[in-house]
Assembly symmetry: C2
Homo-oligomer: 208 residues x 2
Amino acid sequence: MLFVPWALRDGDAYLRAVVERGFAAGIVLEGIHRTADPRRAVEEADGIYVGGGNSFRLLAAMQRHGLLDPIRRRVRGGMPYLGVSAGTNLACPSIRTTNDMPIVEPPQGLGALGLIAFQINPHYYSGPVQIEDDPGRWTAHCGETRDERISEFLEENAGPVLGLREGAILTLEEGRFKLAFEKARLIGPGSEVQEFVAPCDLELPFAE
Amino acid sequence: MLFVPWALRDGDAYLRAVVERGFAAGIVLEGIHRTADPRRAVEEADGIYVGGGNSFRLLAAMQRHGLLDPIRRRVRGGMPYLGVSAGTNLACPSIRTTNDMPIVEPPQGLGALGLIAFQINPHYYSGPVQIEDDPGRWTAHCGETRDERISEFLEENAGPVLGLREGAILTLEEGRFKLAFEKARLIGPGSEVQEFVAPCDLELPFAE
C-alpha cells in the first residue's frame, strides 16, 4: 500500500511511527515521499493510505505533484482508499470542513478528491470545551464551539456535514456506507441532526 | 466609528448586540453593511472596529469590496483600528494563524491588512483540552493542541506568533506595543516562548 505522510513535515518519522505502533496491520507500506515518481507510484499501488496532520499542507503537496486526478481515477476504478484525519478531509469535495490552521495556501484552492459527495468533519465533538492553562485549573474555552463552526459552514455551503467522533470508522464499499466503529452525527443545512451509533448503515449521498 | 460585522452573517444582529452589551462604550457605531458606499465610509470614518466571527468570510468580504488597501492607508495615516478575534487576524500579515474553519475561499488568497509585521493567534491557550460529549463526562480531546498547530505554522512560515489569551488586549500606539490586559505568549521560530503579563511593554517587530 502506498502511504502518504505529506500532512506532516517528517515523512520518515511518520511512516516509522505507523509501523511501530501496528497501524499498518502487517501490510507493507511504501512511503510516497521516498518514491522517485509519485504519479507512477499511484498508478501501480494496490491501495493508498493518506495520513493525518495539516490538511492544507497535505492538499498543497497533492496539487504540487498533480496527484488529485490520478488518485480519484484509481479509486473510482476500485483501488482501496484509507484516510485518517487530514486524509479523511482529502476524500471530501473540499477541505472546507477541516479543523486545521491554514498554514499554507494550496495554490489551486481548497477543492479535494471528492470521493464522496458530502463533507466530513473529523475529530468531531459537541458540547462545551475546557482548557487547562494552569495545572489542575480547568476553565471554559470561549472560542467558537465545533457546532458553531459547522453552522457557519452551512451558512455558506450546502450540507450535510458528517461529524465523525473520535475513533469513528466510516466505510464505503460497493456503494454502501457503514459506520463500523464509534459514533457520528449528520448535520443538515438547517442544522438539524441525525445520530448514528456503530455498527449501522448510513443513507448518504454517494460519490459525485 | 465604522463597525465591520462581516465575519458574521447577520450584520444587524451583531451591531445590535455590540451596542446592547455596552461594547460600543458610548461611541456611535455605523455598520458598514448598511452603507451605500463602503469605500467612501472607510475614507470618512473616524475609526474602524472590525468584529469577530469567521476570518475567511471576513477577508473574502474585504476583498470583494476592495477595502484592504484603503483601510491600510487610513490606519497608517493615523486612523484608529480596533480588531476583535477575526478582526485581530485581519490586522496581521495574513490570516494563516486563525482558528477558524475555511468555510469560504477568499479569492485573492489569505494575505490581510499587515498593520503589524507578525502573526497573532487569538483565543490562544496552552495545555490539554477536554470535551463534555455526555453531560458530566469530560474526556480528553485527541485532535492537535493549539501549540501543535502553531508549531506547524512555524514549520512553514517565519515567526514569531503572538498568542493572545482569552480577554487579552494588545495596543499599538506611537510605535509602542503594550499588553493592557491579561496574558500573552510569544512563540518563536524554534518554538521557544516568552511570556507576558499585563500591564507591560512588548518588544515586537513594528508595522511592515
